[in-house]
């Protein structure tokens, strides 16, 4: 009898020894804030709940950095971390927040669109909880998120997610995926309220362009591209051709499917006057047949299994020993956003959004992503936002 109790105490302590440190790691991750230094172009910071009151006081509420120019012009909305496990979008948005200056028009940037997902993790897939980018003043640590909002913030999942308003049946998990719940509704699921608030922002502020920044597997056909519906496809095509000619990288154009509902590039255009664009950069880290999902792999995109698959022509992007480093992915996003704004300005001069200070693809390849981040410890306190 005493032996059994000794075993029970041992097992209980072993369980606690495993659960407490792991639980603390997960708790710290959920409550870890990324400091964002509002750059010279940020004129005010607002919240998504200002456009969708249903989000007020919830974890789904998120910051919107507003960069207003001296001259009136058009308006653009940049959304990153719709899928928080695709961090190149977040980094491109942070670079813009910390460096961009708008000369004409207005830029709205929301770096953590699915804020709950950015505080969620995928430990079952061995995702790192954080990754760091080297800067001139040290390391900038970024919280790695997950594709979907945390079940802690929206529960229970339905058996099947019925899209609103089209009633298309989608996977149950898409109820927590803010790129399946567009255009959303004010009193629906929490992850339907997030895109609804963004739709309200676009409708109320008369936003001309919305760019949703993503990343996709190298084995997924819709990767390394701009997805655009009919109304945006001309500008998307011109942007893709121009970056190819000027900057030497490929990003083809994919038409937004009419029959697949809930996606930003479809619903924004159908429910507002805004022109939507969705950017996809290849992220080898997201592919399934790879080695361990390490921080290094996330940053350099190098994997021997993908290299082997590339030689067998199984990937949808060129892939060699150099992998797909973070600089390349973030650089592509920055250059494509700038080019979309330029092409839009050429077509609608009175709705121009003119931006300076954002590095191009070549700049980021040369200097690295971290070069463009400011030290929050040295910045003015009131200009540092925790998100």
């Amino acid at each position: 009898m005493r032996r059994i109790w000794a075993i029970k105490v041992f097992l209980g302590l072993l369980c606690l020894a495993l659960m407490v440190p792991a639980g603390l790691d997960l708790y710290r991750h959920r409550h870890f804030d990324i400091p964002i230094v509002a750059g010279p172009g940020v004129t005010r910071v607002t919240r998504l709940s200002d456009y969708g009151p249903g989000l007020k006081g919830t974890i789904a509420d998120t910051l919107i950095f507003v960069l207003e120019g001296q001259e009136e012009g058009g308006k653009a909305l940049i959304m990153a971390n719709t899928h928080a496990n695709e961090p190149e979008g977040l980094l491109a948005a942070l670079i813009m927040i910390e460096n961009a200056v708008v000369e004409k028009g207005t830029l709205f940037i929301t770096p953590q669109f699915n804020h709950s997902a950015s505080r969620n993790t995928k430990p079952g897939d061995g995702y790192p909880l954080y990754f760091s980018v080297q800067t001139g003043w040290g390391e900038k640590t970024i919280r790695m998120g997950n594709r979907d909002a945390s079940p802690l913030d929206q529960w229970p999942d339905p058996d099947v997610y019925i899209h609103y308003p089209d009633k298309q049946l989608l996977s149950f998990i898409d109820a927590r995926n803010t790129n399946r719940t567009w255009p959303g509704r004010p009193n629906g699921l929490r992850m339907e309220r997030v895109p609804f608030a963004a739709m309200e922002l676009m409708r109320n502020e008369k936003v001309d362009i919305a760019v949703d920044i993503h990343g996709a597997e190298t084995m997924f056909p819709v990767t390394n591209c701009i997805v655009a519906p009919e109304k945006s496809i001309r500008i998307a095509t011109m942007a893709a051709l121009t970056v190819k000619a000027r900057e030497g990288f490929d990003s083809r154009v994919e038409p937004s499917p009419v029959g697949f509902r809930g996606l930003s590039h479809r619903e924004i255009g159908d429910h507002a006057d805004t022109m939507p664009f969705l950017l996809e950069a290849p992220i080898p880290f997201l592919d399934q047949p790879t080695g361990p999902k390490t921080e290094k792999f996330l940053l350099d995109g190098k994997d021997p299994f993908l290299l082997s698959l590339s030689r067998k022509k199984k990937l949808f992007v060129p892939y060699d020993e150099s992998g797909w480093p973070l600089e390349k992915r973030v650089g592509q996003h920055c250059s494509l956003i700038l080019e979309i704004l330029r092409q839009h300005a050429r077509r609608f001069p009175d709705r121009t959004v003119s931006v300076r200070g954002v590095p191009s693809y070549a700049d980021i390849l040369e200097k690295g992503v971290g070069h463009y981040f400011h030290d929050p410890a040295r910045a003015e306190k009131r200009r540092v936002y925790l998100n």
Binding site: K8, C15, L18, T121, W155
Partner: protein, 51 residues
């Protein structure tokens, strides 16, 4: 917090109590003891709103 979510926390707490109770009552089978502890982990993490 929606009522269903609240209900889920009560169910999780109830299961934790049952599992711990069974763990304490188990007299012989060590494998069952380990299983009770393994099953209890995600429920505890959910109740504490960690994961």
């Amino acid at each position: 917090m929606p009522l269903v979510m609240l209900g889920y926390y009560f169910i999780s707490a109830f299961l934790v109590i049952i599992l711990v109770w069974n763990f304490l009552r188990e007299k012989k089978n060590i494998e069952d003891m380990i299983l009770y502890l393994l099953v209890v982990v995600p429920l505890v993490l959910r109740i504490l709103r960690v994961k």
